[in-house]
Structures are given as structure tokens and as C-alpha cells.
């Protein structure tokens, strides 16, 4: 019998850190069936018969948002052995709101009072014993960030699970309210357990439509229940839903009065508030934001970045020379040698050369995400995003998307409104990602060596296209609609642990390297193969190869953009596998295998294939056209349908095609 521990809590309460601590690396991530809500689970460390399920962060168990429904259904129908309710101790009032709802279910609850380190730092005091008595459940103080209290929590949770005790209801209702709720409870058929009846009665009282549909009681009984509810609503001059919410908060406020002593008086500034007085300051917010972004990209790309690219080149150069010698010694055929040196090392090496830059970029982005800055960014940008029909919440996926579109697209899950979500998913890939970076760096260095505005201008175009597309699409039927409700928490800043940031960074860098090792590797081998042979499998020069033929077939398509030649056409095609593959494709085409002069060869080759105007058009096309297959996969999984995926990809490629054409035509006239 597997013991299932369900982790439930508000967003930003430290649930993820806790989940990672409890399960180590033995985790799985998937989706709840039928919905795009992440399902995370894993085995409890050192307890092979215990499973931990991480439920989505929720503020309440109402039937309104997908996350709430998924969590509620899991708790009611899957019946885990115990609920570990993680609560932010520095923000108890709102966190306990969910707790009062959990305590009404039939599953035993253990309250994990997280962030005790923050409570201590603030100088606040919590009477844990008293709290436990008032809430009638076990309360364990923890600090997930350093593992404090984790052992005790596990022991308590497992003990509670074994006891199979049930929760005692909390006396949240006033007399009038209690009469109505109990009245409804008595009308419920006896096939349910007492505790479940209580929960159902409260839900029916609240007009929870999902529950009312599911329990199927006679219209007669329903009418009597409605009457009971109405009596209470009239007596209190409020609707039942509000009555229950008020009752909960009333109970919490009263309880906490005797359990907590806060040090800060209202109006006094906490450390986070002080930081925010600068970061979200009326005048300083935007300049600070742009400085942060500029600094991240400048350090990652320009300075440290280009230094590392040169370093990597030397390493790969030496490596391939060494390999060549080895192969000569081993009598390996020239063809295979070419495959290894020109194909694999040339192709994959060109991409791996960017790993240092990507790493630096991801370290910065992970830090920004983990410290809590993202919600500030949403706060600052909300008004701007409203102008084209979205909200500040749409900004976060795009910001994350500057690292990689895949997590960016997944970050759209926080957007509840489906239309806004779809629109954000479609537009996120317009923002330059770290894989497109190598393409821009290469082209900028080759054709615009002293024009430092070229690389950064890609961000400018990305943003413009997001804005313009947003404005236009929001007026069309599939996306038009009311602006969704927007209420967002701004969690306190916290210094992310070095381990967390590094772990986060490593996950992203690992994907990048894995992509290089798989997709780019396969693409490079394929490109090398297609470039070296003709259809009868004779060794030929590149201009007579299969690749050239395919390229020539495609080339006319790109004439308006100025790069209607077979090499560029084919390279653009490989961009659909992985954007970095464009770089590796050109590297192989330029025959730049591995000697030190290789980069110069590549640069020369590009200069011969493109004019400044067509190069810029090519960059624009790469920026905006359909993203790599991994991102398309993410789009498909988040959109939930192929129809929408094709629409998104089609739109992106169409925009790319047109804008690139305009840029080229205008560019060549200017030149």
C-alpha cells in the first residue's frame, strides 16, 4: 500500500523547494489528464512506499480555475493519505484561508509552517502550540530553504497518515450561518460519511455548481436547501459565497490575534518594501528594468560572451586537429574523416562554442526568477500590455523566453484567461531566445562588424512585432473579449540559495547541450551527408550535392528577401530543427572544419552569400519565423490542439516572410 502525501499550498509559499527536498531528484513531471496543468510527483526519499504529489499552487478550493478544480478533484476522488499544507508563516492570514477549507475535507491535514527563518528575522513570534490547538491539527515549523524541520515534518505526516484520523471541523460560522448549513447537512442522504456531508453542505450553501451537479439530489430537496440559504442571506444582507468567505477570514483573524505577535507596525517598511521603493519607484522603475536587461545581455553576450567564443574556438580547433591525426593513424577513410571533422565537430562545435554565453545568460535569468523580481516586472508592465489586450502576466513568459521559448511558453500557465493565454503563447517566440543568439552574433560579426546596434536591434523588432500583433489579433474573433480579472500577489524578495540558482541554470544549460548533442548533431550529420553526396551517392562537391538541389528548389521562395540562394534557403530550413542549427549548417557549408582559420572562413563565406540588406532580412526571418521543433512541441502541448499550433506557426512564419521581404527591399534601396 503506497502512502500518498499531497502537498497543498498558496503560490510562492515554498512548496517547490519543499517538494525538491522531499523527493531529491526522483521526480516526474506531467500533465493532469485532459488539462494543461502540471502534475508533479516523486517518491519520498528513504521511504520507497511513500509518494509525494505536488499539487498546483492555489489560493482557494473554489471550482473556478483549472488549478483549483484539479487539486480539489484529486483530494476528493483520489483520497491521498495525508495533506501537507505548506503555509508561509510570514503571511499567515491569507495562507490559512486555504487551510480552513482543507480542514473540511476527510483527509488528515498537517500544517507545515514554512519560512520560519523569515519570521525569526522579522522578529515576529508565533505560538505554535496555541495555533495547533485552535486549528485542531498538527503544526510543524520548518524552513524549507535550509531543510530545518523537514525530518520532523515527515515523521508527523507519516504518523498522521497511519492513524487515519479525520479532521475536526472548525467553528467558523456564526449561529445564523450554522443553522442554515446544518439544516442543509441534515437534508443530505445518508450514503455519505458525516464529514463529507458537512463539506457538501458548506459547498451547497456556497452555491458551488460543480458539487450541486455531481451529487444529484431531488429538486424538492434542492428547493428546501435553497430556502435555508436564502434565510441566511436575508438575515445577513449578503450572498452566501461572501458569507462563507467572510466567516473564514473572521475566524482566522480572531484565532491569530492570540497566536502571533508581529514586530513591525502597519506602515513600517520591511526589507522587501525598502527594495521595492527603488525597484518599482515611479521614476526609477523603467530605467532600472532596462539597465538590468542591458547589463545581463551586455555581460553575457558582448564582453564575457565573445571572449568565451574565441576561447572555445581554439579548443575545438586543437581538438579536431588531434582527431584528424588519430584518424590518419587509424587509417580512417577520408570521407569519414570529413564527416567527423567537418560535419560533427564543425557543426556541433559551432553551437557548443556558445555554451559559456548561454550559461551566463541563464544564471542571470534564474536569479531574476528565483528572487521574486518577475512579479515586479508584471506590475510595471501591466498598463503597457493592457494597450494591446494582454496583462502584465503575459510579460513574464516573454522575459523567460529570452532564455528559451520552451519554459517561456510553459510559464503562460499562470494566465487564466484562455484567449489571452493563446495569444501570449503565439507571441512569446517573437522574442529572441538564446538559440537565435548565435545566429545574430555570427551575422552581426560578419556583415556589420562595427555596427553594435545590429544585435540588440533584434530585441527591438521582437518587441515591436509582439505589440503590433497583439493589437491586430486582439481585434479578431478568436482573441477578442473582456480583459481578464487581474489580481496578483507580490511576494517578498528573497535571496535565492546559490544551490537553487545553479540547479535552475544547470537544467537550462543541460537542455542546451543535450539539444546540441542530439538535434544539432543529427542535423549536422544530415547536412554533411546531403552536402557531400548526390542522389546516386557519389561523392561530389557541395554545389552538385543533394543539399544544393533541395536548396535550389527552395531558393526561389526567398528571392523577395534577398537570400534566394541554395545555401541560405537550406540553412533557413534547418532552423526549424533548432535555431542554432543555422549556425552549424553554415559552418559545414563553409567547410570550416576545425583549423584556427575556421571562423574567418565562415565569416568570408557569409560575406559572399549576403549583402548587408539580405543579411539583416535573414536575421529578421530567423527571429520571427516558426520556432524550433522543441518550442513547437511546447506550443502544441500548451495549446492543446494541432489546429491552434498550425495557426500559431503559420502566423509567425507569415509575419517573418513579409517583414523580411520589406526589410530587404527597403534595405537595398537605401544602400
Amino acid at each position: 500500500m503506497i502512502t500518498v502525501l499531497a502537498l497543498v499550498g498558496n503560490p510562492n509559499c515554498g512548496k517547490t523547494t519543499m517538494f525538491n527536498n522531499l523527493t531529491g531528484s526522483d521526480q516526474y513531471v506531467g500533465n493532469w489528464p485532459g488539462v494543461t496543468v502540471a502534475k508533479k510527483g516523486g517518491m519520498l526519499l528513504n521511504h520507497p512506499d511513500c509518494e509525494v504529489v505536488d499539487l498546483p499552487g492555489i489560493y482557494s478550493l473554489s471550482p473556478y480555475t483549472l488549478e483549483e478544480v484539479v487539486t480539489r478533484d484529486f483530494l476528493v476522488y483520489e483520497h491521498p493519505s495525508v495533506i501537507i499544507n505548506i503555509v508561509d508563516a510570514s503571511n499567515l492570514e491569507r495562507n490559512l484561508y486555504l487551510t480552513t477549507q482543507l480542514l473540511e475535507l476527510e483527509i488528515p491535514v498537517v500544517l507545515a509552517l514554512n519560512m520560519m527563518d523569515v519570521v525569526e528575522a522579522n522578529g515576529d513570534e508565533i505560538d505554535i502550540e496555541r495555533l495547533s490547538r485552535e486549528l485542531k491539527c498538527m503544526v510543524v515549523p520548518i524552513a524549507a530553504i535550509n531543510g530545518y524541520g523537514l525530518g520532523e515534518l515527515i515523521n508527523v505526516a507519516l504518523a498522521v497518515a497511519k492513524e487515519k484520523s479525520t479532521n475536526q471541523g472548525l467553528p467558523i460560522f456564526s449561529d445564523t450561518e450554522e443553522i442554515s448549513v446544518r439544516g442543509i447537512e441534515r437534508l443530505l442522504p445518508d450514503r455519505e460519511s458525516t464529514q463529507l456531508k458537512r463539506w457538501l453542505a458548506i459547498k451547497i450553501f456556497e452555491r458551488d455548481n460543480k458539487v450541486i451537479e455531481q451529487i444529484k439530489i431531488s429538486n424538492n430537496l434542492l428547493e428546501r436547501m435553497n430556502a435555508l440559504r436564502r434565510r441566511c442571506e436575508v438575515a445577513e444582507d449578503d450572498d452566501a459565497e461572501s458569507i462563507v468567505i467572510n466567516a473564514r477570514y473572521r475566524y482566522i483573524t480572531n484565532t491569530l490575534r492570540s497566536c502571533i505577535k508581529k514586530k513591525l507596525k502597519t506602515g513600517e517598511l520591511s526589507a522587501s518594501d525598502k527594495i521595492d521603493s527603488i525597484v518599482t519607484n515611479r521614476l526609477l522603475a523603467f530605467p532600472i528594468f532596462f539597465i538590468i536587461m542591458w547589463a545581463v545581455y551586455y555581460i553575457a553576450i558582448q564582453t564575457l560572451g565573445s571572449m568565451s567564443v574565441n576561447g572555445m574556438e581554439k579548443i575545438f580547433g586543437t581538438f579536431s586537429d588531434y582527431l584528424t591525426q588519430l584518424m590518419e593513424l587509424g587509417g580512417v577513410s577520408l570521407t569519414i574523416q570529413s564527416l567527423v571533422v567537418n560535419g560533427v565537430v564543425g557543426g556541433v562545435g559551432a553551437v557548443l562554442g556558445f555554451v559559456p554565453q548561454i550559461t551566463i545568460l541563464f544564471v542571470f535569468l534564474s536569479f531574476l526568477e528565483d528572487c521574486g523580481y518577475m512579479s515586479r516586472a508584471a506590475f510595471i508592465m501591466d498598463r503597457a500590455f493592457r494597450q494591446f489586450g494582454l496583462s502584465g502576466k503575459s510579460f513574464i513568459p516573454m522575459l523567460v523566453g529570452t532564455g528559451c521559448s520552451v519554459p517561456g511558453i510553459m510559464a503562460t500557465r499562470t494566465i487564466e484567461n484562455e484567449k489571452d493565454r493563446r495569444l501570449t503563447i503565439m507571441l512569446t517566440p517573437f522574442i529572441p531566445c538564446s538559440a537565435k543568439m548565435p545566429v545574430f552574433v555570427l551575422f552581426a560579426a560578419s556583415l556589420f562588424p562595427d555596427k553594435s546596434w545590429v544585435g540588440p536591434s533584434m530585441y527591438f523588432w521582437g518587441i515591436i512585432m509582439v505589440v503590433v500583433s497583439g493589437i491586430i489579433l486582439k481585434r479578431t474573433a478568436p482573441f477578442a473579449g473582456e480583459t481578464a480579472p487581474f489580481v496578483m500577489e507580490m511576494p517578498a524578495y528573497h535571496m535565492p540559495g546559490l544551490k537553487t540558482v545553479l540547479k535552475h541554470t544547470w537544467e537550462q544549460v543541460k537542455s542546451f547541450i543535450l539539444k546540441a548533442g542530439t538535434i544539432v548533431f543529427a542535423a549536422s550529420v544530415l547536412v554533411w551527408f546531403l552536402q557531400s553526396f548526390n542522389t546516386s551517392l557519389d561523392l561530389v562537391s557541395p554545389t552538385e550535392s543533394m543539399l544544393a538541389n533541395i536548396g535550389r528548389f527552395l531558393a526561389p521562395v526567398f528571392v523577395p528577401q534577398g537570400f534566394g540562394n541554395w545555401q541560405a534557403a537550406f540553412a533557413a530550413l534547418t532552423g526549424f530543427l533548432a535555431k542554432e542549427a543555422i549556425v552549424s549548417t553554415f559552418a559545414i557549408l563553409a567547410g570550416s572544419g576545425g583549423d584556427a582559420g575556421s571562423k574567418a572562413d565562415l565569416v568570408l563565406k557569409l560575406q559572399s552569400m549576403f549583402t548587408p540588406a539580405s543579411a539583416y532580412a535573414f536575421m529578421i526571418f530567423t527571429l520571427l519565423a516558426a520556432p524550433c521543433c522543441a518550442a513547437v512541441g511546447a506550443i502544441r502541448s500548451e495549446m492543446g490542439s494541432w489546429k491552434w499550433t498550425f495557426f500559431a506557426v503559420g502566423y509567425q512564419t507569415g509575419v517573418a516572410y513579409i517583414l523580411a521581404a520589406i526589410i530587404y527591399q527597403v534595405g537595398s534601396i537605401i544602400q
Binding site: Y59, S60, S62, Y64, S90, N91, L92, E93, R94, Y97, D238, E241, S242, I245, N246, Y249, K262, T266, G267, S272, D273, D276, T280, N281, R282, L283, A285, F286, F379, I380, M381, D382, R383, A384, R386, G392, P485, F486, V487, M488, E489, M490, P491, A492
Partner: protein, 73 residues
């Protein structure tokens, strides 16, 4: 009686009535803005909207068009 939108930065007010409707009402109440709750107006975003409020020990932001529907004193 005034709306939350009109309250100046730095003031603390108490919620008297919530005239927001639908899912937004539920959401606002779930987040702790209920009759009788104290709200401290922390600041306004650089572009003029949304507003940052301190409610029940945490920071939250709300659009002005929704704040307009919360009556306070």
C-alpha cells in the same frame, strides 16, 4: 464613502462594500479583501496602473478599474 481608487498613497482604509461582480469578486475576496479588512495603499505603478496594496500582511496589486468598485472609508 469613497472608492479604493480615490485613496491617496500612504493612507489606510477599511473596506465597506465590494461591488465587483462575478469571478473577479470571488478572486478578490479569496485574496483577503473582505468587508471590514484594512487596506494600506502602498504605491501606484510607474505607468499609472495597477496599484499596490498591503492587505493582511502581504502585498498585492489591483487594477484601478477594479479598485473603483471597492467602497471604503
Amino acid at each position: 464613502m469613497r472608492t479604493l481608487r480615490e485613496i491617496a498613497v500612504g493612507q489606510t482604509v477599511t473596506v465597506v462594500k465590494i461591488e465587483v461582480t462575478g469571478a473577479m469578486k470571488r478572486r478578490i475576496m479569496d485574496m483577503g479583501i473582505t468587508k471590514g479588512t484594512d487596506i494600506f495603499v502602498r504605491k501606484i505603478a510607474p505607468l499609472g496602473d495597477p496599484i499596490e496594496l498591503k492587505v493582511r500582511d502581504y502585498e498585492l496589486f489591483l487594477r484601478k478599474e477594479d479598485a473603483e468598485k471597492i467602497l471604503v472609508e
